[in-house]
């Protein structure tokens, strides 16, 4: 039986009662808490699932051409399917950091100001260029957007996991949306990953190609940070 993911611990520090587990975990109580080993399994399962979707179309294309060369057009259709399936999943992954519609300039500016107070100078500069916030964590380097986050794990820069997670308040400005996710991530990283839904896990180039051009440096920076962390660890 899986351990209760909401129970990590709470403590009383003088007059400050704090908790280290996200309260949102109660809404996904059936999910085991995410950790590095679970992420490994999710990555492997995602690869297997993709292969299971793609392989039959590749096989069908080869068999059709082998049986009857005149069936090349049908074989090509199979190949298009084999290409499109991972592409659609990658698009779903890239969508988690797609910027939402902007509201009035004043609130947007105020929210970015508050977000800027939460992050360092480099992250602030990257956010100004990309609209995304780079956040180092225990599992890897996160790229936090308005409706989700990307995770490049330490030493595994050839894979990115895209997590769909957001605050359900449509009128919040963009900076506040990111700040909500950032504070939750900082409070309980594995809890954050447990609450979030995995939208894609796979090659970063697939996601990068589907991100907005201005956003791509954020993923590049996360990959560079993951590579550096991997080198430090080895």
């Amino acid at each position: 039986m899986a351990a209760d993911p909401t129970v990590v611990g709470s403590r009383s520090d003088g007059d400050r009662e704090t908790t280290t587990a996200l309260p949102e975990l109660a809404t996904v109580a059936w999910r085991p808490r995410v950790d590095a080993a679970r992420l490994d399994r999710q990555d492997a399962l995602w690869t297997l699932t993709t292969a299971a979707h793609v392989a039959p179309f590749l096989l069908a294309a080869a068999v059709l051409v082998w049986l009857e060369p005149l069936l090349v057009p049908v074989a090509l259709l199979c190949l298009v399917h084999a290409w499109a399936i991972p592409a659609l999943y990658a698009q779903r992954g890239a969508n988690v950091v797609r910027p939402g519609p902007r509201g009035a300039a004043g609130p947007e500016r105020a929210s970015v100001g508050l977000l800027g107070d939460l992050i360092g100078h480099e992250a602030r500069a990257l956010h100004a260029r990309t609209g995304l916030v780079l956040e180092p964590g225990g599992l890897g380097t996160w790229v936090v957007g308005e409706a989700g986050a990307l995770l490049v794990r330490h030493g595994r820069r050839r894979r990115v996991a895209c997590w769909c997670v957001q605050v359900r308040e449509p009128e919040l400005p963009a900076g506040d949306r990111i700040a909500h996710l950032l504070l939750a991530l900082r409070a309980d990283e594995t809890g954050f990953a447990t609450v979030a839904n995995l939208a894609f896990s796979g090659a970063p180039w697939r996601v990068r190609a589907r991100m907005r051009r201005a956003q791509r440096p954020a993923l590049d920076a996360a990959r560079a940070a993951a590579r550096a962390a991997g080198r430090r660890a080895s």
Binding site: R16, E17, P23, R109, C164, V167, L183, F192, V195, A196
Partner: protein, 74 residues
């Protein structure tokens, strides 16, 4: 002066300000804090670079307490 900030549609709103040496301001801040928690907000304080904590009582020694809404998977 410490601040209790709520993230909302305006960007953010300062709900209360207090100084530990001002008992009346502290009392107002504590009351405002509890009202916001009753409305469903979660209170967070930064505890160093890259770290934050959820608090259930107003930490009088904090510089800034930020109120956020719950998140959920999309």
């Amino acid at each position: 002066m410490a601040r209790l900030i709520r993230m909302d549609r305006t960007g953010h709103t300062t709900v209360a300000e207090w100084s530990a040496a001002d008992p009346e301001a502290v009392a107002r801040a504590v009351e405002a804090f509890r009202e916001e928690l009753d409305r469903g907000y979660l209170a967070m304080v930064s505890t160093g670079p890259g770290h934050a904590e959820q608090v259930r009582e107003l930490p009088l020694d904090a510089d800034t307490v930020i109120l956020r809404l719950p998140i959920s998977g999309g």
